[in-house]
Structure formats: structure tokens, C-alpha cells
Amino acid sequence: MSKPPQDRFIGGKQSYESIDRKIGRVVLDQKSHPPIWLITFAMAFLLVQVLGGAVLWLLYKGVGIWGINQPAGWGFDIINFVWWIGIGHAGTLISAVLLLMRQQWRNSINRFAEAMTIFAVMCAGMYPLLHTGRPWVAYWLMPIGPNTLGMWPQFRSPLVWDVFAVSTYMTVSALFWFVGLIPDFATLRDRAKNKIVQVVFGMLAMGWRGSVRHWLRYETAYLILAGLSTPLVLSVHSIVSFDFAVSIVPGWHTTIFPPYFVAGAIYAGFAMVLTLAIPMRAWYKLKDFITDKHIDWMAKVMLATGLIVFYGYILEVFFGWYSGNTYEIAMIKNRMTGPYAPFYWSLITCNGIVPQLLWIPKVRRCYPAIFVISQFVTIGMWLERFIIIPVSLHRDFLPSSWGMYIPSFWDIAMFVGTIGFFIMMMFLFVRFLPMINIFEMKELWQRQQQAEHADHADVGAGPVPAHDAAGAGHDKENAQ
């Protein structure tokens, strides 16, 4: 078994202290934030106001302010729901699946990937709630039970499965994220000079002292949560895909949807992680922790999942033709040559063709290029949902009922608003919480040191607990 190339995941000359300092500085030294933070935050905050306005108007007038109609009963609402949920997936994959697979390169990106998951799920969660005609009774989808509401929800409906899937996903992701933050909260508490900051982080640290018992419990809990999260990576988007696959609408009624949606979700998620990581590591000078190798590997994951997705597109067309079914063939034909054909071909370009550039190592090392490709993928994945949802609905069985779906101002306002919300939350997160896992980085550094020694002497690969060292180190600093 070849050794993982850990050395390449932390750059520069580091020590426990320097890792603490470099990551903790972003939170503790508020002056270290570049002006771009304030500018972006202000813009995002403005968009959140747009979101607020769009939601208030929606509640006042009803979903008729959107572009949905007969036959296209779903439009931006469900497109954006699926899109945001998909984006969240990379976070869970990185933090849970890669943890279980002992892919330690994930350590520097898992924290903000998880944050991204949570904020994306928050954005996604708004839609199913608000897209209902009567959002004030949307809680009827919850299994509150016959004792309270007189009846259960209708368990055969994929929308009920969605409620379970998304709420479980949100809960587990938030827990996972918070548990992972506890040792870092302690570090920040210990490094903070400001009394208030000390108290706040002290409370969040929940009495963490870095004792062996704490670490033991912590590691167990974290592993269990990772174990819980892992099936979610597959299940959540599979269930989201059931919203479509269970129906009989040509273009929705497709058995390939679950794997194809999961791959698409990871694809979109990695694109979003890259979109965030590339500027962040530059602005906050974190290139030592989010290294070129990280970007390279993420690009490779994106390429791999992108190929799965592209394969899905090809199969859809094949099955449409192979079925010999009038409605399926008409659906494929409509996608390719109908009024929304430009969107379909843009989708193929964005998701199928442009990412092929990632085969080239040079491109994978060119950050502007990767950033742009990530944007293509993000847009492409949005278009994919557009093609699946309204474009399938707008022309189904009876030509007499065919229509067009044209999003309204409020559709766009709400979408832009959720983007603003997401960015705002990410920026708040970056400013007030450690965006890179400090203790895991220290652990990684420690392993790296060990590995360097092991080159000379054949020391066993078993990890030496470095956690107490982390805790102790801070105590010393604080005492000074």
C-alpha cells in the first residue's frame, strides 16, 4: 500500500502554532479581512433584501406571481430546490465519505464544504415550503401524526420522502458540522484576547479541554456521524430524483435518475467548492492549506462525476429512441429541436463538453480556467434541472394542453435572492468561524512530520495522538 502523499497537502514551513495562527487569525483578527469581503457581503446582503421582498410578495399574492402555469406546474421553484440540494452534496461527500475512506486531503476543505452544504440546504429548503399554494399549511407534509392532525401524510408520495430526506440531511449535516467545530472552538477560545469572543467561543466549545477522554468520545461521535451521513450522500438526491422518476411524465419517468442525480449533485457540489475555494485561498492567503494538489484532485473528481452525468444524457436519448414510445421520442425531439433547444444544447456544452478540458493537466493547474469551468458546470447543472422540469412538463401527452414556461420577474428575484443569502452566509461563516479545520490540519502536519522521520527509520504508520498537544500548546500561549 503506497503512502498517501500527505506532504503535498500542507505547504510551507509550518508548526502547530503557525497552523493555529494562520487559520485562527481570519476569525480573531477582524482587521485581516480584505475590503473585498465587505463589498461582496454588502452586495449579498442587498440580494437578501430582494429575497425578503420576493417572499413577502409571494406570501401576499400567491404562487401566481411566478411563471408557472398549466401544464408546467413546477418551474424555478423546483429547479432551484434540486440545484441547491445538489450543490450541498459535495460537502457531505467530502466530510463523510472521504473521512471514512481516510482521504486526509479532505481535511483542509471539509469545513467550508460542510458550511456550504448547510447553507445550500437552507436555500433549497425554502423552495418546497414556499412553492406550495398554501405555505401556511405546508407542515401537513410532516408526519405529525393522527393524534394531532387527524391523519398522516400520504406516504406513497415522493414529496413526503423528500421531507424526510431533506430534513434528515439538514439535521445530520448541521450536527456533523457543529461536532467537527468543537475542538476548533476551544482553540479559538484559548487564542482569543477579547473577553466577549472568549465567552462566546467558550460556550460553543462546550467545555472542551482536549483531554484524552474528550478525544476518544469525539472521535467515536464523529465517526458515527460520518457513518450516518454517508448513506445520505446517496439517498437524498436519489429521493429527490424520485420526485420525477415516480411520475409518468415523459422525461421524468426514467429509471436512470437516482444514480444520475447523485453524480450530478456531486458534480455540482465540487464545482461550487472550487468556486468558493479558489478566491478564498487567495484572499486569505491559505494556499498552504488548500494546495494546488487539492484543486487538482477536486478537478479530477469533477471530471469523473461529469462523465457519469454526460453518460446519463446520452443514455436518456438512447432510451428515448429505443423505447419506441411516441411520447418519449417526442420528448427527446422536443428537447433537441423544440423551443427550449438552445437550453438543451447549452446544457450539453456546459456539462458535457467544456469540462473535458480538465483532462489536460495544464488546465487543472490554471486556476482562472478551473474557476471558469466550475461556473460552466454550475450553470450546466442548473440547466439540467431546467430541461428536466419545465421542458418535460410543457409538452407531454396531449398537444392541446401544451404550453410554454416563461419565468417571471419574481422567479428570478427569488433565485437571485437565495444566491445572495448563500453568499452572505458563506461570508459570515468565513469571518466568524474557522473555515479550515485547525486540529485536523495539525494532525495532518503531525503525520507529515512523522512520515518524514519514517523515511529515515521504519516507524509504524499508527498515528500518534497529537490532539492533546494541540490543546496544550494553546494553553501555553495563553499563559504567556
Binding site: 399574492k61 400567491g62 404562487v63 401566481g64 406571481i65 411563471g67 408557472i68 402555469n69 398549466q70 401544464p71 408546467a72 406546474g73 413546477w74 412553492h131 406550495t132 399554494g133 398554501r134 399549511v137 405546508a138 401537513w140 407534509l141 391523519m151 398522516w152 401524510p153 400520504q154 406513497r156 408520495s157 415522493p158 414529496l159 413526503v160 421531507v163 420526485d243 415516480v246 411520475s247 409518468i248 411524465v249 411516441t326 411520447y327 417526442a330 429541436t337 423544440g338 423551443p339 412538463l393 410543457h394 409538452r395 407531454d396 401527452f397 396531449l398 398537444p399 392541446s400 394542453s401 401544451w402 404550453g403 410554454m404
Partner: protein, 1015 residues
């Protein structure tokens, strides 16, 4: 706030002024009062003397109260009749709270009545149904009768009597009128301009009026009246006779641009009669055949076995050609058919007509020129069908002189007082008459009308008219059958009927009831006669009152003269002007149900357009929505074009009724005023028109084909087996229709042919449950459906379906629970066939909507209904997405919001929930009617009999194409139809197992015109 207290007003003086005065007198006194500055100040201030209001002593307070009472007199225009709420001391026997009662009355339009039974819910008329006993209805109605209910509750109706735009009272009007018409010099200068009417009571009143006022003249203006029909019979038989057709006796019918199945006097009856010859059932060996020649494609053409289009001038040539072939003396008629397709058609039709002889009938459209109509009558005479398939009765409508004559008299200054009664000539007079400017010469104009419309704006006095459900009258049906118009509600808005007004003019102190009663029974009727009156009222028809069909002799010379006078058309396009299929001559322009009703074939809503053929569109590089200028002579209109397959190439069609300027909120949707082109001499066809493309487009809104732009053939079925059918020949041969001439027939079931249509395989044993109570189902016969839309409007009325407006329909959010899908077959540049298919909730046994609802808001009943639980619906719209028939409708906004117009609340059917925003809705198979029948059956300790539940769409259907019932009942009509060999399910391959199934469309084509030959 003002601090300076104004001069104390002389309230005592004001009160003294008002003392002892009542009613209308308040007006003048208050005018005088408000003339004083103090009073005006006091009036202007909502709370006079606010600063001192609290410091008023008791005496002053009472003074202010006194003045407030005076003000109450100022605002004393009543909106509703004031009534005391007292429980019935002695309840009328038939009224049970919560139980609707039906009353027979009659709806008339353009002078011709149709017997209806109106449902009243605790005094509110809520639904119009046909009167089975009335020969013009036979239990069915048309869209206009259905929608007339909405006009009753229209909040835009004129609510009070006005004089020069100011509110006044009936007494004030009488006070003005009496001295005026008692002047001898004025009496001779009084004229009446009325809508067409056939009321014998009115006719008698006119006689009395003429006596009392020494013969004031009676003029009639009916924009879509039957002048041409009477001119046609005048030519053919020398007298203005009313043709009455008997299509049940006809085996071959030729329609010359008529829409006798959906839009002609008597069409409700005619559709039933015609359908009786098209009952394609197992073992049938006979079917009638309909040929249609159309200047503008309509429903009759879509129902026809063979249709062909012809420009108005070609229609003349065609009529002459057929007449000649049948042996009618057409003299030296110069017209020849140059169009080879038409010539071939004429040849086959003539042969077929001749073979059928007395069982063949030619029916000409009401808007065709009198010469064509005369030729039609001549052909019927020659064929020998007069007396079998067609009869002629005396004129139904009261005769009057024309608007043209009236205007000449006005020009000659012979008119001092003009009463305009329920007609709107300021809008609907042909443009060459120049009504609006010429009528101004009349010093005193009095208008009796429902709406503050264009004519009202010209008249000094506007008396709000009553709706037919608000006043007593009588009317005659298409065959002259006399029936009583019985009101169901007190006038909502202090309206007066035409009878009230005429009574007032001759100073007869009798009301409408006494007038009609007196007219029918005479003075001092015997008790037996009184009993008759009760029976007539109850039945809605006076037995044996139809006009006798009079024997006729053809005036051969006149017919050949008329035929010879037809000359070839000059160069240029022809224009066909026609009454609008939904808003008629414009009188329904404010009726949301009719405005939003998709027009047959075009499916346009809220607008009219210039209809052109696809070929013309290609040649002139026009596409739908392009603005054009259509001009003829010095007149022109600007309108968008609509490309209509099947339209003749050398003519364009424009429907009347749009471009209204005044008279309600719904008129804002504009459209184009076709009266601006109409000429009084040739009101329906214009020659020598020019069409000019303008820059710009207009967004016409349709309820179908929201797409169509990129779909090669507009509205075709995209090779889907949606409408299935075949020729009658095939039916007789196979007693089933394995082949589908309208597209690929994908589903074949070897076992299903003949008995028991099984559908795709299933593990469920239907036979095992064959006796488990009721299983509701519906059968729709596509052979019979004429696409008349009556079911759509009836459903809207029955189920409280809101009107959503033009913008919402544009977005694709119309709410109709039942719709008529329209597809075409054939090359759009040549002749096409239009196919209708009514689509409502299929009540699938295996409903795709049910498993996807997350809250169980749509569930299946044990009787097979797919139920929608509004209260449980959260509005995810998943059910609609998953419905392959797209019959579900969603309240995207609060469409049923009647808070702003409370009067519309009265309209609602109390047995149907009004749906709020955010919930899904759809056809329920009229579950309220099922439950009402179930309650009755339970009370009688029995089961619901076949025919015990009639859905709204079924009840209104003129050809009885829709049949509903219990499919478990082996003796039921619906079961019988579902066991027919040509029963099929729409989208059977999706395995939804719909409870609504269709009988394939069977056409009886002539072998020489088989479709295979030209498609």
C-alpha cells in the same frame, strides 16, 4: 384641522325647506339648499365643526342629526330593494331552506326564445337549464342561455336611472315624460327603436301604444337579426316566412355557410334532431350525411362528413351550380364555379341530394345573402323536402321598420322623442348609417338598457333595464311556441322592463305580471283558465302554440331573377363579417364567462382577430399576431391576424362584437370593432377589400396552442392516437373500428373487440366487483359532439368556476374543468378537417394524480370518483404535473375573490365549495348532484336509477353526446355505450383506466369524396 368655526348654519331653515317633502323632491330642494355657500361648506366637510362636535349640546346634536337625515336623502339611491327580515309565518309549500327549486322561464336572444328552467337557491337564480318540454330546447341550452346568468349579476350594469349622467328617479322621469308626450305636436314625433322581440304581450302593447299616441312608429335594430332570412323567403315564396328545419327526417344535409348545429336560431333543437340520425351503434346500418360549405370554418363544418371552404362569392357560384344541377330554374345566372375542388364537391353533393330526394335538405346560413337563401329554399322545394325536412311558418319576431328608415326620418326632423329599447345602435349600427352623429338631432333620447354603454352616452335619460330573470314577459321559440318569461328575483338595480316603460308611456297602471296574465287569459278569466295559467307557468310552455307550417309555393321567377342578379365579384379580397361565436353581436362583451370561453376552432379568448387562411398568410408573409390594416372603401380597421386552417383563401373573416368603447370593465380587452366596416346594404359580406401589413404585433391569447409556432402543422395530433375514428363504411363492415384514420392506432386488443372492452392486462378481477354498488362513468360520443362549448359554460356555472382574465389565460392558467380540444387533419394549405374532443377529468381507476399527492388531498372514492379534497390541499401541483390529460386546474392567485364585487357572491352554487387561492381543483363528475340523488334515493329506500344523476355538461349538451351513469348497472345507458365496439380510452397505453371513455368519431363519407383521395 380647522379651528375657526364656520358661521352657524341655518339648520332650522334647511329643515323647514325639507319638511313635508318626499322622494324625488329631495333632489330639487337639496339642490337649492346646496346652492347656498354655507351649506356647501358644510357638505364639503365630512365632519362639520369638528372642533365643536364634542361640545354640542343635546339640542344641537339633534339639529345635526336632522341634517344628516337630509343627507341620507341625498344618497338615497338604493342598491337593493329594502326588505324586512322576517321568518316565514306561513312558509310557501315548495320552499325548503337549502333545497334548490327550479322555475320555468324563457331566455330570448335576438327575439327568439328558448324555454329554460332556472334553479333558484333561496331566491337566488344560480343555474340555467334547458326546459325539456320546450321545442327549442328539449332540455339542452346553448352558451348564451348559460351565461345569461352572469349578466344578471354583472356589477357593471346600470344601477340607477340617470338624467344627463346624474342620478334621478323613475318618478322624476315620469314627471318629465308626461307633459312632454301629452303635447299634441310632440305625439306625432315620438319614435321607438327596439331590439327584436317576439313577445305577444309586447306586440299587444305596441298596438295600444299606437292607439294612445296616434301611431308612433316602431323600428327594430338587431345587429345579428334575421333580416336576410326573411328576405330570402320573401324572394322564394313571396312572404317573409320563418324556416323551421327537421333534421331528424333528413338523411343528406347540405349546409351553405350555416352553423345550424351551434349558432343559428333553433340550433339547440337542430343539433338534437341532427344527432338522431347519427347514432352509430352496434348493428346500425344507417347514418345521415352532412356536407358543409363554409365561408368561415365553424362547428357545423367540423362536424360535417365533408367540408369545403369557399369565399363568399364562390359560395354564390356554388349555390347556383347546385341549384342548377338539381333542376332549379336559375335563369341565365352568369356565375360559374371556377374552383375545381368546389366543382367536384358540387357534383357529388348534387348527386347525393338528388338521390335522397325528400330526405335531403339544404340549409343556408343566416348571414348568407338573401339570393343564396332563396336558392336554398328553391332547392328544398325541388327536392320535395318542404313539409318533411323543412317547414315554413309566419314570422316570429314583431315586425318593425329598419334603422335606416328611422335615421331618414331623423334627418327630415320628424323625430322629437326617441325611445331606444334594449339595443345599442351607437355601437352596433353599420358604419355607413352614421348613427351616432345623426341621432343627435333628436331633442329627447331615452334609453332603456342594461349597461351604461355607447348608446347610453348619447341619451339624456338612461333607464336601467331589467334582466329577463327580473321581470315578467313572454316570448316565442324558433317555431313560434309561446312561453312565459317568469322572473325569479326582484330587480337588483331598480330596473324597468320594456313593458313597464310602455305601460308608463300610455299611463296604464299595470305591472308586467298583469300584462302577461291579461294578454294570455284576457280580462276576468275563468277558474279553469287560471288553472291553465298555472300549468303554463309550471311547464314553461303553452301547449300547441307553435305556428302552423304554412304551405308554400315557390316563386320561380323571383328565384331565377335573384340568381341571375348574382354577378362575379370584383378584384380584391372579400370580407365575411359574422357575429362572434361567444360574445355574439357585442352584447356579451362584459360577460366574463363568454369572453373567456375559447372560441370554436381558433380557441381565441378575450379578443377577435382577422382570420385568414394559411395559404394567404404564406403569400402575404403574415403570421399570427401580425397587425394589419383591413380596408374597404373609405373604411378601415387595424387588427391582428389569426391564421385559421380551413379558411377560404380569397376572403378574410372578422367577428363582430369587439372594440366596445363603453359599458363595463371587461371591455378593456379591446379587440377590433368590425361594425366600423359594416355596410347596411350588405351587412355580412364585403367585396374589394385590401389587406395591408403594418409593423408591429399584438399578443392574441388562446386557450390552446400556446405553442404552435414551431410545430409544423398547427394543432395536429403529432401522430398520437388521441382522436380515433373511421368511416361509417368500415364500421358497418367490421362492427368495430380497428383502424384509425386520424393517426396511428397503437393499442390493439384482440380480446376486446366486440363485448367487454378490457384494456391492458390487470390482476384485478373487475367481474368480481361488478355488483359493488355504483361505479360512475361517462361516455362521450365524438361523432355527435359539435364543439358548441355549452358544456364548458354549464360547468362554469354549476361549479363556481372563476373567470381569470386575459393575462392569466395568456400565462396558461384558464380554469375550465371541461375543455374542447381541437385538432386538425390534413394539409393546412388545402382543406382540413377539424376534430373536437371534450376533455374533463377522466376519473382514472388507476389515477396518476393520487399516489403523488403528499397530503392525500386527492383520493379515490369507492364509487370510482377521483376526489379532490380542497381543504386538505396544500398546493404542490404535483398531481397536475402527473396528470397525462392535464385536466387539473390550480388557483395560482385568489381567482374566486368576490370581496370586491359582493354581488357575484349571489351567483355561486351553494352546493359547490368556492376554492381559495393555492388549491387544486378539477371536474368532480358533479359530485354535488350525485350526492343530492343519493340523498333522495336513501329517503326513498332505493338505489339511484339510471338517469338519476345528470352532470351539468351532460344536461346542457344539445346532441346528447355526453352520457353519465353507473357502469355496474347493466341496463344503464352509459354501460350500453361503453359496451359498443368503438368505445376507446384516451391514452389507454398509459394504463390509467379512465372512467371517461370515448366513442370513436365515425364519419359517413361519400365514396366519391373519400378522404384517402385528397389527403
Amino acid at each position: 384641522m380647522k379651528n375657526d368655526t364656520p358661521k352657524p348654519m341655518d339648520l332650522e331653515a334647511a329643515q323647514a325647506n325639507l319638511a313635508g317633502k318626499r322622494g324625488a323632491d329631495y333632489w330639487r330642494s337639496l339642490d337649492e339648499l346646496s346652492g347656498t355657500e354655507d351649506f356647501r361648506n358644510w357638505l364639503d366637510d365630512e365632519f362639520p365643526n369638528r372642533a365643536s362636535l364634542l361640545s354640542l349640546d343635546r339640542r344641537d346634536f339633534i339639529k345635526v342629526m336632522g341634517a344628516s337625515l337630509a343627507l341620507a336623502g341625498l344618497t338615497g339611491c338604493r342598491f337593493m330593494p329594502q326588505e324586512k327580515i322576517v321568518a316565514y309565518v306561513k312558509a310557501p309549500e315548495e320552499i325548503v331552506p337549502g333545497k334548490p327549486v327550479g322555475y320555468a322561464t324563457a331566455y330570448s336572444q335576438a327575439g327568439i326564445g328558448m324555454g329554460v328552467v332556472v334553479t333558484s337557491n333561496m331566491g337566488r337564480p344560480t343555474k340555467v337549464e334547458g326546459n325539456e318540454k320546450h321545442p327549442s330546447s328539449l332540455g339542452a341550452t346553448d352558451i348564451f342561455a348559460q351565461a345569461s346568468l352572469l349578466t344578471l349579476y354583472d356589477p357593471d350594469r346600470q344601477r340607477t336611472l340617470t338624467h344627463n349622467g346624474e342620478l334621478t328617479t323613475w318618478d322624476a322621469f315620469l314627471a318629465w315624460l308626461r307633459p312632454l308626450i301629452s303635447r299634441p305636436e310632440t305625439i306625432a314625433r315620438v319614435r321607438f327603436l327596439s331590439e327584436a322581440s317576439s313577445s305577444p304581450t309586447l306586440a299587444a302593447q305596441i298596438e295600444r301604444l299606437k292607439k294612445a299616441l296616434h301611431g308612433p312608429k316602431w323600428y327594430v335594430h338587431e345587429p345579428a337579426g334575421r333580416d336576410a332570412v326573411y328576405a330570402g323567403t320573401q324572394t322564394a315564396f313571396g312572404a317573409p316566412l320563418n324556416p323551421v328545419y327537421h333534421f331528424d327526417k333528413a338523411s343528406v344535409v347540405l349546409s351553405l355557410d350555416s352553423d345550424f348545429l351551434t349558432a343559428m336560431v333553433g340550433s339547440v333543437r337542430y343539433a338534437r334532431d341532427f344527432a338522431s340520425g347519427r347514432q352509430v351503434r352496434k348493428g346500425a346500418d344507417k347514418m345521415n350525411r352532412l356536407y358543409a360549405v363554409e365561408c368561415c370554418p365553424n362547428n357545423t363544418g367540423a362536424t360535417a362528413d365533408h367540408r369545403i371552404s369557399a369565399a363568399p362569392s364562390e359560395l354564390e357560384a356554388f349555390a347556383v351550380e347546385i341549384a342548377r344541377a338539381l333542376g332549379v330554374d336559375v335563369g341565365a345566372a352568369p356565375l360559374r364555379l371556377d374552383n375545381p375542388a368546389l366543382a367536384k364537391f358540387a357534383q357529388v353533393v348534387a348527386k347525393d341530394l338528388k338521390e335522397a330526394g325528400a330526405a335531403a335538405v339544404v340549409v343556408s346560413g343566416e348571414q348568407t345573402p338573401p339570393a343564396i337563401q332563396a336558392l336554398g329554399h328553391a332547392m328544398n322545394s325541388v327536392l320535395g323536402s318542404v313539409g318533411t325536412c323543412v317547414g315554413y311558418t309566419q314570422q316570429v319576431e314583431i315586425q318593425g321598420e329598419s334603422l335606416d328608415m328611422l335615421l331618414q326620418e331623423i334627418d327630415e326632423d320628424k323625430v322629437e322623442v326617441l325611445f331606444i329599447l334594449n339595443t345599442n345602435p351607437a355601437y352596433s349600427a353599420p358604419v355607413d348609417l352614421n348613427f351616432a352623429s345623426r341621432v343627435k338631432k333628436v331633442a329627447n333620447l331615452v334609453y332603456l338598457g342594461l349597461y351604461p354603454d355607447e348608446t347610453a352616452a348619447l341619451c339624456q335619460w338612461h333607464i336601467p333595464a331589467t334582466h329577463y330573470l327580473e321581470s315578467w314577459s313572454d316570448t316565442r321559440g324558433h317555431d313560434g311556441t309561446h312561453c312565459i318569461v317568469q322572473p325569479l328575483i326582484e330587480p337588483l338595480y331598480s330596473g324597468k322592463s320594456v313593458h313597464d316603460l310602455l305601460s308608463a308611456i300610455v299611463d296604464e297602471p299595470v305591472d308586467g305580471y298583469e300584462l302577461v296574465h291579461g294578454q294570455l287569459l284576457g280580462a276576468n278569466p275563468t277558474e279553469a283558465r287560471e288553472k291553465d295559467w298555472q300549468t303554463w307557468l309550471h311547464d314553461g310552455i303553452i301547449p300547441n302554440s307553435a305556428f302552423a307550417e304554412s304551405p308554400v309555393t315557390l316563386n320561380v321567377a323571383a328565384v331565377s331573377g335573384a340568381a341571375s342578379a348574382l354577378v362575379p365579384a370584383a378584384a380584391g379580397f372579400e370580407i365575411a363579417l359574422r357575429p362572434d361565436p361567444t360574445i355574439f353581436d357585442g352584447r356579451f362583451a362584459n360577460n366574463g364567462w363568454l369572453q373567456e370561453l375559447p372560441k370554436p376552432l381558433t380557441k381565441l379568448v378575450w379578443d377577435n382577430a382577422i382570420l385568414i387562411s394559411p395559404k394567404m398568410a404564406r403569400e402575404m408573409k403574415l403570421s399570427r399576431n401580425d397587425m394589419v390594416k383591413l380596408s374597404v372603401g373609405s373604411q378601415s380597421v387595424k387588427a391582428p391576424v389569426w391564421v385559421l386552417p380551413g379558411h377560404p383563401t380569397n376572403s378574410v373573416t372578422l367577428h363582430l362584437g369587439y372594440g366596445r368603447r363603453k359599458g363595463g370593465v371587461n371591455l378593456a380587452s379591446a379587440g377590433t370593432d368590425a361594425y366600423a366596416l359594416q355596410q347596411s346594404a350588405t351587412p355580412w359580406n364585403l367585396l374589394g377589400a385590401k389587406l395591408e401589413k403594418l409593423s408591429g404585433t399584438y399578443d392574441l391569447v388562446t386557450a390552446q396552442d400556446h405553442h404552435a409556432i414551431d410545430v409544423g402543422e398547427i394543432g395536429n395530433q403529432q401522430n398520437r392516437p388521441l382522436i380515433q375514428g373511421n368511416t361509417f363504411e368500415e364500421f358497418v363492415k367490421d362492427n368495430a373500428l380497428p383502424h384509425n384514420m386520424y393517426g396511428p392506432s397503437e393499442v390493439h386488443h384482440g380480446a376486446s373487440e366486440g363485448e367487454g372492452h378490457t384494456g391492458p392486462p390487470s390482476l384485478y378481477d373487475a367481474k368480481e366487483h361488478a355488483n359493488d354498488g355504483n361505479a360512475w362513468g361517462m361516455s362521450i360520443d365524438l361523432t355527435l359532439c359539435t364543439g358548441c362549448n355549452a358544456c364548458v359554460t354549464a360547468c362554469q356555472a354549476e361549479n363556481n368556476i372563476p373567470v381569470v382574465g386575459r393575462e392569466q389565460v395568456r400565462k396558461g392558467r384558464e380554469m375550465h374543468w371541461i375543455r374542447i380540444d381541437r385538432y386538425y387533419r390534413g394539409n393546412p394549405e388545402e382543406e382540413v378537417e377539424a376534430l373536437h374532443q371534450p376533455i374533463l377529468c377522466m376519473h382514472c381507476e388507476n389515477a396518476p394524480c393520487e399516489p403523488v399527492c403528499p397530503v392525500g388531498a386527492t383520493v379515490h372514492s369507492h364509487e370510482g370518483l377521483n376526489q379532490m379534497v380542497y381543504n386538505r390541499c396544500v398546493g404542490t401541483r404535483y398531481c397536475s404535473n402527473n396528470c397525462p390529460y392535464k385536466v387539473r386546474r390550480f388557483n395560482f392567485l385568489n381567482y374566486a375573490n368576490h370581496h370586491e364585487v359582493p354581488v357575484l357572491k349571489l351567483l355561486n352554487n351553494p352546493n359547490v365549495t368556492v376554492r381559495g387561492r393555492g388549491v387544486m381543483e378539477k371536474c368532480t363528475y358533479c359530485v354535488q348532484r350525485i350526492n343530492a340523488a343519493r340523498i333522495e334515493a336513501k329517503k326513498a329506500d332505493t338505489t339511484i336509477k339510471d338517469g338519476g344523476v345528470i352532470t351539468a355538461c351532460q344536461q346542457v349538451c344539445p346532441p346528447k353526446a355526453i352520457v353519465f351513469g353507473n357502469i355496474h348497472d347493466t341496463g344503464s345507458k352509459v354501460r350500453e355505450l361503453k359496451d359498443q365496439p368503438h368505445d376507446y380510452s384516451l391514452l389507454e397505453e398509459v394504463n390509467t383506466r379512465p372512467r371517461t371513455t370515448y366513442l370513436k368519431k365515425v364519419v359517413n363519407q361519400h365514396p366519391d369524396l373519400q378522404h384517402g383521395a385528397h389527403s
